[in-house]
Amino acid sequence: MKASFICAAVIALLQLSGCETGSGSCLTGNTCECSGGTDCYQGCADSDGCNLLCHNMVHCGGVCGDGCDLACHDVNDCSASCGNDCNIDCHNTVSCGAFCGTNCQYDCHDVDRCGVRAGAGSIIQCTNVTTCAVECSGACQLFCKTTENCDLKCANGLPSSTCADGSMRCGAC
C-alpha cells in the first residue's frame, strides 16, 4: 500500500517536471540583439513586428510572426523562423536555415549551406554559397550567384523554371 502510494506520487511529480512553452521575450517594434557566448534564440513575445539580430556566436536564431526583420552573421549556425512579409539576412556563417511564409525576402551570402522553406511570393538570393537549397510552397523566385549547388523544389505541383534573367522560379517566368 505504502509502496504503491510512493510510486504514484513519484509518477505524479514526474508529470509536473518539464519546460513551459513560450514565444520569446522581444517586444513588437523593438530591436533585440544577441551576441557573444555560444547559444542564443530569440523570439517575438507579441508575435509580430520584431527586429531580431544575432552575431558573433556559435548557434543563434530567431522566431517571429509576421512583418519581422531577422539578421544573423558571423555565427556557425543561424536559424530563422518567420511568418509572412519577413526580411531575413544571413551571412558569413556555416549554415543558414529558414522557414518563412508568403512574401519572404531572404538574402544568404558567404555561407556554406543555405536552406530555405518559403511561401508564395518569396524572393530568395544566394551569393557566394556552396549549397543553396530552397523549397517553395507557391510561386517564388530564387537567384543564385557564385553558388556551386543551387536547387529549387516546388510544392503543390508547380513547375520549376529557369528564366532569362538567370533566376529559377516556381511557376511561370
Partner: protein, 213 residues
C-alpha cells in the same frame, strides 16, 4: 502571480539563509559550555532522520536555467553510529531525498537568454528553431539526491554535517540526468527529537525540520 512570488522569494532567500546561519551559530555559541564532540557516540539514539524542507537553487543542471524554489524531503538512515573517527563524536548515515523545484529563467543570477524549445530539419541539412522560451523559460525539476552523510555532534544543541553523493534529476523533455551532490549543513536542536536543519550546496540548498526516529 508567480513572478511576484518569485521576486519576493528571491529577495528573501539570502536574508533567510543568513538568519538560518545566524540561528545555528547562535545555538552553537549558547551551547559552547556543553561541548560533546570528544564523546564517542552521538548524543541522540536514533536510527533514522526524516526532514521535510523548503528547497532553493540557482543554475540547475542540464538544460534548465534560472533560480527556483520548491519542497522536498530527506530521509537519512544511520549506518555507523560511532562514525569513522575514534574518540570523536561523529556518525555516518545514508541519505535519500526527493525534491521538487520550479526554476524561472528570468531570475538567473547572471542574466538570462531564451532557449530553443523545438528544432526542425530544414533544406540542405539545416536546423531551424521553431519555438523559443519566454523570459528565459521556466523549468520544473525533480531531484533525487543519494548521499553519504557524515555528522559531527559538536554540542548538545548543535551538530554539523557534510554530504557527498549523486543527485539524479528529471527535467521534462530532457529526461533524466545526474550530477555530483555536495552539501554542508547544520542542525539546531529544539527538542530531543526535533531539530532545525539547514543545508548549503549543489544542486540545491534547503531549510527544514528534522524528526529523529
Amino acid at each position: 502571480m508567480w513572478g511576484v512570488l518569485m521576486r519576493r522569494s528571491t529577495r528573501r532567500v539570502l536574508p533567510a539563509a543568513l538568519v538560518g546561519a545566524l540561528m545555528l551559530a547562535a545555538g552553537a555559541a549558547q551551547a559552547r559550555d556543553g561541548y560533546i564532540i570528544q564523546d564517542r557516540r552521538a548524543p541522540f539514539d536514533y536510527t533514522a532522520e526524516i526532514e521535510p524542507h523548503l528547497v532553493f537553487g540557482s543554475a540547475p543542471p542540464g538544460r534548465g536555467a534560472g533560480s527556483g524554489l520548491g519542497v522536498g524531503v530527506r530521509a537519512s538512515f544511520v549506518i555507523a553510529p560511532d562514525g569513522f573517527l575514534r574518540d570523536v563524536n561523529d556518525s555516518v548515515a545514508i541519505g535519500v531525498g526527493l525534491d521538487y523545484a520550479h526554476y524561472a529563467g528570468r531570475y538567473a543570477l547572471d542574466g538570462y537568454r531564451d532557449q530553443c524549445l523545438h528544432f526542425e530539419t530544414g533544406p540542405a541539412g539545416t536546423m531551424v528553431c521553431t519555438e523559443v522560451t519566454s523570459n528565459g523559460g521556466s523549468y520544473n525539476y525533480l531531484f533525487v539526491p543519494v548521499v553519504m552523510q557524515w555528522n559531527f555532534w559538536l554540542t548538545e544543541k548543535f551538530s554539523a554535517f557534510g554530504e557527498a553523493g549523486l543527485s539524479l534529476y528529471h527535467l521534462g523533455n530532457e529526461g533524466f540526468g545526474a550530477v555530483p551532490a555536495l552539501f554542508v549543513g547544520g542542525r539546531l536542536r529544539l527538542t530531543d527529537t526535533i531539530l532545525l536543519t539547514a543545508r548549503l550546496g549543489y544542486p540545491t540548498i534547503s531549510f527544514g525540520v528534522s524528526f529523529l526516529l
